[in-house]
Amino acid sequence: MEIKKPKIKSIQYEEFKDNESLENMVKELNENGSNVIVGVLDDVINWGRSNSLWSLTFATSCCGIEFMAIGAARYDFARFGFEVTRASPRQADLIMVAGTITDKMAPVLKRLYDQMADPKYVVAVGGCAISGGPFKKSYHVLNGVDKILPVDVYIPGCPPRPEALLYGMIQLQRKVKVEKFFGGVNKKEEKPKNKVNDGQD
């Protein structure tokens, strides 16, 4: 049982940029092979997960308005299964960091991320979330959200066009499709060190 290349219905595989990193992931996952039954189960679960990615409504600045625009009728991200946005991190699959993250916001964002349940993804939207953008030199701006969170997809732009946001989200879908759900392969956080239960706590 092999993990296949991720397929998106309406876009040809060759038309995507950056297929290489996905192929590397596929290669890595295939190295040890996997059980047929578990593999089929993985496929089913990933199919479901990738087509209903729930994002946290998190927006700090300009990019948030474009995020609203893709939610509205014209760009309509419901076509791809992203339409459910959750106000609570406990119910969200991914966090779209749309906007500048400042020094005061950084611990709050980290806390929100920590509150989300695994498996979870981070999408950095716009120049500010990627590197600090036009505010890179400021005394109160975090230069890139990847300094505090593991980022899965970067969507450049200031703000990114809705098409770019959709493309980025589809890239995330493809990433979700090549995951082994069982066995904890994709856990990004380190497992907590097993406490020695010495009966004292």
């Binding site: 927006a59 500048t100 109160h140």
Partner: protein, 519 residues
């Protein structure tokens, strides 16, 4: 260059009180802290008479740079409250008698004051510890013998029931944080925490050339990108003595009004969504996209256009711009009727908004709550009428003023303003004169020494630019009068006594944009 009057710190409070009572200077337009290095730290006040539109600029320097102290004016103008906290946060000037000397934007454990010229950024690495919320505040009280002592007082009592709303909350329209003391469902007290999107734009501007600073204005209030940039361009043009061509004035005016329609449509959409009407949200966004298309054809940007430049605009209007705008206007009229059918007449919407979040005219002026909020309270505060700029003195439009001062009035003002904006555009769109769209400017410009203030009517109030130039290629101090800061400072007055659920309706109708508050 604006004329400036200097007042000694010791006499400031009495003099300000006299100005307010005798000259009726009841509107504090802007309050700016400046670091004049060896000449000390100080504050520049812009005052205006809300009836005669007479303005006055006052400067006050704190005598001691090491321990700067200036008497507060927050008891004269309510709007000074947050502004003085901002100055304390940025420059460390302590306002004697101010009831709440906490930092407004930065964390409590921040070291130093960022807008001081000798600020050292290395003292403030990224702190990943969660910020502790303290329930008490300090204030400085002057003793009869002239000495000043620090005292503490509680913001919330220990037995009060406090709800925290934000910074991550879908209905605060960004990362604003409220702490609300409740009694049952009734709001007893509200404490605003800003700064979660404080990007330090003003400090950055001090090391950017004038053309470079333009890019940051679009990102302040991104729903008023054209207007913000217009204000800064106008300020620099005024300082340089540059006259822009009539064609540019026409284009800028039309763009400003399109932006206003865009912003008000978004206001409508978001308010409806906050109150649970998702269909209306989709309607508003559907029509907003049409304006964004028009913007995109001419400027290349959807949300942030980077269109105005010093001396003109970036590019000439697209060949079919006039046609597109006209067809949009004919399209929008019946849609507005649809909005009214769907939402304005809706019984739920009316009950959620009527009589909720009252703001009196006196309070609106005292807080400096301009824009739709002020006009809904009966204050004719439109900069386009008060201090006309661009083409506004040549077009015929009505300033929408209502007197109820509740959420419903704030909502109606904005819906009616869409119609007025359409009228302005209709008068201009056919007559755009031929001419240059851009005046040649040097790549590095040096603004003559002096202080300048100019303001435009942004989508949600007066957006002002204060510029102090020392004749160099960088501005010495550039401050943006936020449209949103007076609005959030008035939130407590509006929501006290209301239900907690109404806080969302009030916040929605006040229509602040958080990056514009925090800057």
């Amino acid at each position: 260059m604006d004329k400036i009057n200097e007042i000694e710190a010791a006499a400031l409070h009495d003099e300000m009180l006299r100005l307010k009572e005798e000259k009726h200077m009841d509107f504090l337009r802007s309050l700016t802290g400046v670091d004049w290095q060896e000449n000390g730290l100080g504050v520049v006040y812009h005052l205006e008479n809300s009836e005669t539109q007479e303005t006055i600029t006052i400067k006050c320097v704190a005598p001691n740079r090491e321990k700067p102290e200036i008497p507060t004016v927050s008891d004269i103008w309510k709007g000074a409250d947050f502004n003085e906290r901002e100055v304390y946060d940025f420059l460390g000037i302590v306002f004697i008698g101010h009831p709440d000397m906490r930092r407004l934007y930065l964390r409590d454990d921040w070291v130093g004051y960022p807008l001081k010229k000798d600020y050292d950024d290395s003292l403030n690495p990224l702190r990943m510890t969660n910020e502790e919320t303290v329930d008490s505040t300090k204030y400085m009280e002057e003793q009869p013998d002239g000495s000043v002592i620090e005292k503490r007082q509680a913001i919330f009592d220990e037995d009060e029931y406090i709800i925290n709303i934000g910074p991550q909350h879908p209905a605060t329209h960004g990362v604003l944080r409220f702490r609300v003391a409740l009694e049952g469902e009734i709001i007893k007290k509200l404490d605003v925490h800003c700064g979660y999107i404080h990007r330090g734009i003003e400090k950055m501007c001090e090391s950017l050339t004038y053309q470079q600073t333009l890019a940051l204005t679009d990102r302040l209030d991104y729903l008023g990108a054209h207007q913000n940039r217009h204000a800064l361009c106008m300020c620099v043009e005024k300082a340089m003595g540059v006259e822009v061509s009539e064609r540019v004035q026409y284009i800028r005016t039309i763009m400003d009004e399109l932006q206003r329609i865009d912003s008000h449509l978004l206001f409508f959409s978001c308010l409806c969504m906050d109150l649970g009407a998702l269909t209306a949200f989709l309607y508003g966004f559907r029509d907003r996209e049409k304006i964004l298309d028009i913007f995109e054809y001419t400027t290349g940007g959807r949300l942030i256009q980077n269109y105005n430049t010093i001396g003109g605009v970036q590019a000439d209007i697209a060949p079919d711009f006039v046609e597109k705008v006209k067809s949009f206007l004919t399209y929008l009229r019946p849609m507005l009727k649809e909005y009214n059918d769907v939402f304005t007449g809706n019984i739920i919407a009316q009950q959620r908004m009527k009589g909720v979040g009252l703001l009196s005219k006196e309070d609106a002026i005292s807080f400096g709550a301009t824009g739709g909020t002020g006009r809904a309270s009966g204050w004719a505060c439109d900069v386009r009428k008060r201090h006309p700029y661009a083409m506004y003195d040549k077009v015929d439009f009505k300033q929408i003023v209502r007197t109820e001062g509740d959420s419903y009035a704030r909502y109606l003002v904005r819906i009616d303003e869409i119609v007025e904006s359409m009228r302005i555009i209709e008068q201009l769109i056919d007559n755009i004169p031929a001419g240059e769209y851009q005046q040649k400017m040097k790549p590095i410009i040096k603004v003559p020494e002096g202080i300048y203030y100019s303001a435009v009517e942004g989508s949600r109030g007066e957006f002002g630019v204060f510029l102090e130039s020392h004749g160099e290629k960088y501005p010495y101090r550039l401050k943006f009068r936020s449209t949103g800061l007076p609005l959030v400072s008035a939130m407590e007055t509006m929501s006290r006594g209301a239900k907690i659920a109404d806080l969302i309706a009030i916040g929605g109708t006040v229509d602040y944009v958080v990056p514009d508050i925090d800057r």
